[in-house]
Amino acid sequence: QDALVEFLLRMGDNALILGHRNSEWCGHGPQLEEDIAVSNIALDLIGQAAMWLELAGAVEGQGRSADDLAYLRDVWDFRNVKLVERPNGDFGATLMRQFLFDAFHFHQLRGLVASSDARVSEIAAKALKEVSYHLERSAGQVIALGDGTGESRGRMQAALEDQWSYALELFASDGTDRNMAEAGIAPDPAELRGLWDETVGAVMAEATLEIPDSDFAHQGGKQGTHTEHLGYILAEMQFLQRAYPGAEW
């Protein structure tokens, strides 16, 4: 029960915080089509966050709504990986992060569609449709920018190296993950590494980018120990709910 709540918070918080970061681009993208695309991904992710958090609140059984969970928890109660809370960097870095996350998210949701928990499987099925498209798009963009100009290749390679050790947190399984896997609720993240390596390897090859030769993985986000960036995200995101408690919007 507790483990399920924990797992659902991880799903919801990843989507919420990555959606938040993408939404920062709205109105500031490098061209109109991209502006629309990145906002669209933000929109999908925030929609998914709402579904996962609502279910987390329901399973927890203390009457907390998705909004309560999004707006009234402080940093230590957030369960997203550190990757998604880092600042956007340039548009290429945002796309690289999106791709590294999408490649995981896609395989994870495919596993979740077969979840033994019908509520989980239902949300996963909805999300998978969106995320299949996210992955297709971010993969295409990473390939194009890797293959584009010398400058774009350099930026994408730097982004890949910068984010690699954060992406690897996605595969750091802990007790919660093993618990979910045993109950047939969710795939063990560690076991998705092979599929992810394949997807990422194929795209990076086409993008002419070199995968970093390092297995060092940042950790702790999933358990609530974040980077210094999350606090600033929450201060902004939660301002109205914190300043006007109990108001309806």
Partner: protein, 313 residues
């Protein structure tokens, strides 16, 4: 000239002019200016509302707002495409925006200071925009008319969403009510300015009306807007910040105070509260994105070259 006479007759018969057909240079130029400024207004218009996306108070409101701002980018896209049919590229138009040569609607030079502004912008600014745009669905230039039809449909949806936010606020806590009133106070007159200067001071109008590029006079639309909006404000329990506002039975509309046209011309000149920020944000986005656009072009060329190399084998 005989061509011009025939052209005007087509317009008078309510025929649509299509891209490849003959048109007077003045018609083309006026349309490019008007559609271009409208397109620019959509993308600059993303900024004031975009300012509250990361701070939207609920997940649902955040999604609605994101979708709305995204729609504005989409409107920009339709309109740049419509302008392109007149032989001007999107990049060219953007360059003229960035250099200050072309304008966007002055309303977007006002800041959004509280969440209630997300309601008031939807209600008043989109409301005024629709008032301007609905008649343009019947404008004489085909691609423009079709773009306006799509846009109006979405805009009226946005306006209802904005009004819904105002309802929540006006019926909310005292602080929320205060926010709503404050937003109305700040945005009322700038919204009235959206219809442009008074008819007596408005240039180009007669020719544009004859060409059916402009369908109504500024003052007609402004009056219509006031008549529509005042009862909505009353329904919200908010006070329109105009002590001289009153119903005029005789004309069947409200008498109201004109906006401060000095302020209007100041803002137009660049001295609005956010002119520098707005244009600065657009220019920054464009410059920061240069490497991205170049890379996408380079990749597309490489891909095409690879494809034709394979085909040649």
């Amino acid at each position: 000239s005989p061509e011009e006479i025939a052209f005007q007759e087509r317009i008078d018969r309510n025929e649509k002019i299509e891209p490849k057909e003959w048109m007077p240079e003045g018609y083309r130029k006026t349309l490019i200016r008007q559609i271009g400024q409208h397109a620019h207004s959509e993308i600059v218009g993303q900024l004031p509302e975009g300012n509250w996306i990361t701070r939207a108070p609920t997940l649902e409101r955040k999604q609605i707002l994101l979708a709305k701002v995204q729609d504005e980018a989409g409107h920009g896209l339709y309109l740049y495409c419509a302008a392109e049919t007149l032989g001007v590229s999107r990049d060219e138009l953007l360059e003229r925006l960035h250099s200050g040569d072309m304008k966007y609607s002055s309303i977007f030079n006002y800041p959004t200071l509280t969440w209630a502004d997300m309601g008031a912008v939807g209600w008043l600014v989109d409301g005024a925009a629709i008032m301007n745009q609905v008649p343009l669905q019947r404008t004489s230039y085909g691609p423009y008319s079709r773009a306006m039809i799509r846009i109006c449909k979405e805009e009226s949806f946005h306006q209802r969403q904005g009004y819904a936010i105002m309802m929540k606020m006006a019926n909310g806590t005292p602080a929320q009510k205060k926010m709503a009133q404050d937003a109305l106070n700040r945005l009322w007159y700038p919204s009235l300015m959206m219809f442009g200067p008074s008819d007596k001071d408005s240039v180009h109008s007669a020719q544009s009306m004859a060409w059916k590029i402009k369908m109504n006079t500024n003052d007609e639309l402004r009056q219509k807007f006031v008549d529509q909006t005042v009862p909505q404000a009353e329904y919200l329990g908010l006070t329109v910040p105009d002590p001289d506002l009153k119903w005029n039975e005789e004309k069947g509309g409200y008498d109201f105070t004109e906006p401060d046209w000095d302020e209007f011309y100041q803002v137009l000149k660049g001295n609005g509260p956010c002119n520098k920020e707005r244009l600065g944000a657009r220019v920054k986005a464009w410059e920061d994105g240069a490497w991205y656009r170049e890379a996408m072009t380079a990749h597309a060329k490489k891909k095409a070259a690879r494809r034709s190399a394979v085909a040649a084998e």
